[in-house]
Symmetry: C2
Subunit: 313 residues, 2 copies
Amino acid sequence: MASDPVSPQQPDPAAGIDPAAAPAVRRLALIGLGLIGSSVARAVKRWNLAAEVVGHARSAATRETALALGFVDRAEADPAAAAAGADMVMICTPLGTYAALAEAIAPGLKPGAIVTDAGSTKTSAIRDLAPRLPEGVHLVPGHPIAGTEHSGPEAGFAELFAGRFCILTPPPGTDPAALETVRALWQGMGMTVHEMTAEHHDRVLAITSHLPHLIAYCIVGTATDLEAQTREEVIKYSAGGFRDFTRIAASDPVMWRDVFLNNKDAVLEIIQRFTEDLTALQRAIRWDEGETLERHFTRTRAVRRSVIAEKQA
Amino acid sequence: MASDPVSPQQPDPAAGIDPAAAPAVRRLALIGLGLIGSSVARAVKRWNLAAEVVGHARSAATRETALALGFVDRAEADPAAAAAGADMVMICTPLGTYAALAEAIAPGLKPGAIVTDAGSTKTSAIRDLAPRLPEGVHLVPGHPIAGTEHSGPEAGFAELFAGRFCILTPPPGTDPAALETVRALWQGMGMTVHEMTAEHHDRVLAITSHLPHLIAYCIVGTATDLEAQTREEVIKYSAGGFRDFTRIAASDPVMWRDVFLNNKDAVLEIIQRFTEDLTALQRAIRWDEGETLERHFTRTRAVRRSVIAEKQA
């Protein structure tokens, strides 16, 4: 209800590519044209970050939409056809598709091509992609921390990434020029780019993103199981907090299934901590420990102030 | 990030009081001038729902703010002085204050006065208020399902309630005219008013509001306990879902402490169900049960559509 105090900012040209310069990427192939892929395509077109954008989508309807909306120059049903000859290939499909996609596109990749992705878990991305790519192709895994609960090619928009963070997790020995090209692409879309190891990324995102989604899916499921009359009322009176969870729990089911399966250890570890903390609060409620509750609730308020200070609210 | 598709609507005059008519309430006393009390005051002024608004706040700073912003005609340090002679007294303070407030205001209440409230749990409101009010004073407990994570007299705004639901939980035998007056007041602020028993209200709100807040407080607490470096990163990368929880977990600590202490049974019951469901999801992740996860995540998507259909998104 409270309006978001930080609206997505337009990319800062100083932070990105000189708009007058030629695009840093000649041909960009986007594998997957859902929320993320189609937003990248729109941003790349808007800020002239690649000379040509080729897209792959399995569904004919998505390919038609992409061509009709004009955010790709060409749409291919075969991922290998989209990736062949591209200077950069960005995988924007659920994590469970990575291994098969890498097998499919590998033979047609041009020497010196960059393969990157936008997936939410990074150790699994490296595990599934690295061993399948040919010598001379550069892997630079990435994760733009941005999204909405909407899915599909119509849901994308060019400003999705502006003012947000992108994490790159280059494996040791990554080609510096390839890393720089991927970094410049996200910066050109208005993102602040950070680097860290894939393992560290997966631990941090387990708490900032994976656990919140699991919890939201869980609580909405709990409500769905209530007797029918109560369930209707839960929806009617959702403005008391529940509706924010329904928004998160409306995110793409296949994408999130794959996130949990591919970041299992970090997610299970953080669920364990969360459950312990919930049990402590539950116990405080049962034993009327008002001070414990108030102390806990006061402490968490400060975190909100930090989020606002970091302009991520 | 996605903008709220339903902006608060202006109250529909057909649903409320005829704006040309005299206000239905002559003198309204608001006990507590935080987010809710000050929003009620502003709405009452804006739509001329009471001839006079008197406010009570313990803090001198709040009273000064209320007078400076002009949403009360008079501000009293003593709740009894604010309530004395009022036609309607609305309690807008944390639930833990109700019993003492009722003791304090009871002697000065005028015969036929209506006492109502805006608290989040209703069996406790009746338990703490009813036995302390004199004969001839009408108790009509209420709960406007609206709020933000902000607190205090500056945080209020007249449109807070517009387009939302208000639940009234009149005990058996409540005076119909008093009930109608309270109903008309909330309708005049743009709310749709429903009636149910206090017990039913508390069960429904345990899932739509109390559990979501507890979970949000919990997950933000879990993140706060991480080692310092990770904690900084959790804030930086909060756009992945976590930031929505930090917003909810920034809600007023004392108000929420009192909610949990005063709706203990319903909250403990729903935590139990939630924990069982979370354990099932945790197990599905551990055992790579992708189908179970996908089925669960698909089911919850439908709930979001219902929330949007009910215009509560």
